[in-house]
Symmetry: C2
């Protein structure tokens, strides 16, 4: 059997997973790839750090040049994360004709164009299945299986941390802070959870999925982003009463040459398959103009699930031929895709107000909605005879612009104490 | 741009879908495949049959030799179904070095080995994504994305007709006959529904999935098969009371070198993602030793969804290089996989009896269960003071052999009028 030497950059959670899989599924991987894979070097920052895998000391290095300058190393697997030095290492590896497998969503979302172009120029493969949704083969589905389709819509639960938090809030009635604390204790959220709970992580992943699905180059800044910190147990309870479940959704749609790109909490019908994606699971719902509705569901993180995607990519590189690779035909990506303004988004809306329990308040608010072209689907008014009562609306589909105009006016009403929350309702 | 000529055998539902997709997504398909695809010939049985696509008359033929002997035709797309003449045409096409794309599950499940070997020998590609679960890219997921895994388990809802019938029975309380009639009226079931409702269709698909997942050659006769004709509205109602939903499942598991292969109706927890796969949708739940649980959900039939898989395969053939194809490394499939006897299956069981309303009946039955090593999880006894009453049990996990022994004895009890139904409960 042929042999191939590879290097791994980073021996954290995913790096350890890759090592474990290469070890325990050695025979299958050899047969399927046609190669005996030897991990020749592993780059780490600190040689003395305790590790949860048993790696021979002689292959550990802290010097990237040990890898770069070894021409017998044909594949570099980047699992460090972040921009630098990951980007520098990847570009250098590419320039030495090494094929690259990476799980680096942040780098790909923000500087993917430069890296993809370098790989194309040097004729090497750059695979990144693990960058979105861990073990779920969504990148391969879009790039290989759905090539007969125009993709028209993506709806994804692609952040496990927020999905864990929202699931606990929904199933156990927890408040956000409590659920976040639990997620941190169980290792589902980081000490600084900002990137997850504010929707940045989902935004990076959506940029990658949109690039592939629409053959575009999406700037992450053009994606509307809103996290889940404003969601309360009360909203989740009302959502249930209306038959909805709240999820952090990453949404991309193509309509008449414009892209609609947004990451925000949304109410979705509780019977929709996405509503039943719980805890740290991820799922991506995709609509193609031939295949119709398709959903992929699985583990979006973790050493072995993400490692499964990384090792799958290594095997793909080997199968495609490390010595005689020709990139598949591809149209130049469209950098000029117009991204639709959030004002032009069409949604239903859930609106929760705290109002004075005055006769006429409902009429006043309803009349402002009507004047702004917002038509109402349901109203819940609770807690009579108290000073401050909640008033909750679900609208029919309307322009976000109209909602914003209406809210501006409603805020001025003397009987309106507070706009407690506005959550989009996805009509799926 | 390079040009390629292909031929389609059969212009029924799927054939028409392929034609439509090649037409409406022409530009994308050219870019992604690197080829302008020309459908040079379409083989039909009857030239004068009315069609629902507008195909130029000059490319329609009733003579396969028009295709076989035209060396400019590089890909043959077989969408006729059945064994002959499909098999003969495919083997002849392969012998003339034409690549083959097929949706023929029956042929692949029963005679796939011969066809795959012929393709390997002649160095041509044989792709069959459309043969299982229509538009769901399950074949590609197993063959390409999950290569880092040992697959340990597959659970699939892979027959749309039976899932439509069971969904109507569950949601609307219909009886089987009524739901079947509705399915036939809506085009979800054929005039002769045997292949679907008796589980043959799911059995063929399971054989294909098992071959790929376990690198085996499964004889369809070694798959235990039971259809849904025995399921009644009453069973579905009891299932709900126990928190279960009844689905026709196709199950394959690998344990200690033995395969467990079975197609039968099963109760699954109503909160499991598979339980919410409704109507004609399909879903495949797959467990890999690295990726963990993964589910793919989508449309299992229909002209465009199935056409999406077929055209995706055509594009894959073109991308892989029609002139310089090398088959990926692969171990010789294992023909000697031992298939576990159904007696050795371990499940929970739902058992429904009609019994005389005598004191002591429950004790008698329970004692027989106990003697045979079957321990009971729940009992429902309804309708007091009638002559004939239902008695329903759910067991803990037990060997199918023990259930069969117990049932034999229970049937002999004078107070037992009838064993109404036995349905396996999957512990997923």
């Amino acid at each position: 059997m042929k042999k191939v030497r590879i290097a791994i950059l980073g021996l954290g959670n995913v790096g350890s997973g890759v090592w474990k899989i290469l070890d325990k599924n050695r025979e299958e991987i050899s047969i399927r790839s046609g190669y005996e894979i030897e991990v020749a070097k592993i780059l780490v920052r600190n040689k003395n750090k305790a590790r949860n895998v048993d790696v021979p000391e002689e292959i550990i290095t802290t010097d990237f040049n040990d890898i770069l300058e070894d021409d017998s190393i044909r594949i570099v697997v980047e699992l460090m994360g972040g921009v630098e030095p990951a980007k520098d290492y990847i570009l250098k590896a590419i320039s030495r004709k090494k094929h690259v497998v990476t799980a680096n969503k942040f780098l790909l979302a923000t500087q993917g164009k430069e890296i993809l172009e370098a790989a194309k120029r040097e004729g090497v493969m750059l695979y990144f299945e693990a960058s979105v949704a861990g073990g779920i083969p969504i990148i391969n589905a879009i790039s290989e299986s759905l090539t007969a389709n125009k993709i028209v819509e993506i709806l994804g639960i692609i952040n496990g941390t927020t999905n864990f938090i929202l699931t606990r809030m929904s199933h156990e009635g927890m408040e956000f802070d409590e659920a976040l604390k639990l997620a941190q204790e169980l290792g589902f959220a980081e000490a600084d959870p900002t990137s997850d709970i504010e929707g940045y992580d989902a935004m990076y992943k959506l940029a990658i999925l949109s690039d592939l699905s629409f053959n575009s180059i999406v700037h992450v800044d053009s994606i509307y982003r809103e996290g889940i910190t404003g969601i309360t147990a009360v909203d989740i309870q009302y959502a249930k009463e209306f038959g909805y479940t709240i999820k952090l959704l990453a949404i991309a749609k193509e309509k008449n040459g414009e892209l609609e790109l947004r990451v925000h909490p949304a109410m979705i019908p509780s019977k929709h398959p996405l509503a039943n994606v719980n805890d740290a699971f991820n799922a991506i719902f995709i609509k193609g103009n031939a295949v119709g509705d398709l959903m992929l569901y699985g583990k979006g993180a973790g050493d072995l699930p993400t490692g499964s995607a990384v090792v799958g990519d290594i095997i793909s590189v080997l199968r495609n031929g490390i010595d005689d690779y020709t990139a598949p035909a591809k149209k130049e990506a469209n950098c000029q895709f117009k991204v639709q303004s959030m004002d032009d988004t069409v949604c239903k809306y859930y609106l929760r107000f705290a109002v004075l329990d005055n006769p006429g308040t409902l009429a006043d608010i309803s009349s402002i909605f009507g004047k702004n072209g917002v038509s109402l689907a349901s109203v819940i008014q609770k807690g009579k005879n108290e000073k401050e009562v909640p008033l909750v609306f679900i609208t029919h589909e309307t322009l976000e612009r109209n909602i914003n105009e209406a809210i501006k006016e409603i805020k001025e009403l003397p009987s309106v104490i507070k706009v407690e929350n506005i959550i989009r309702v996805e009509n799926i």
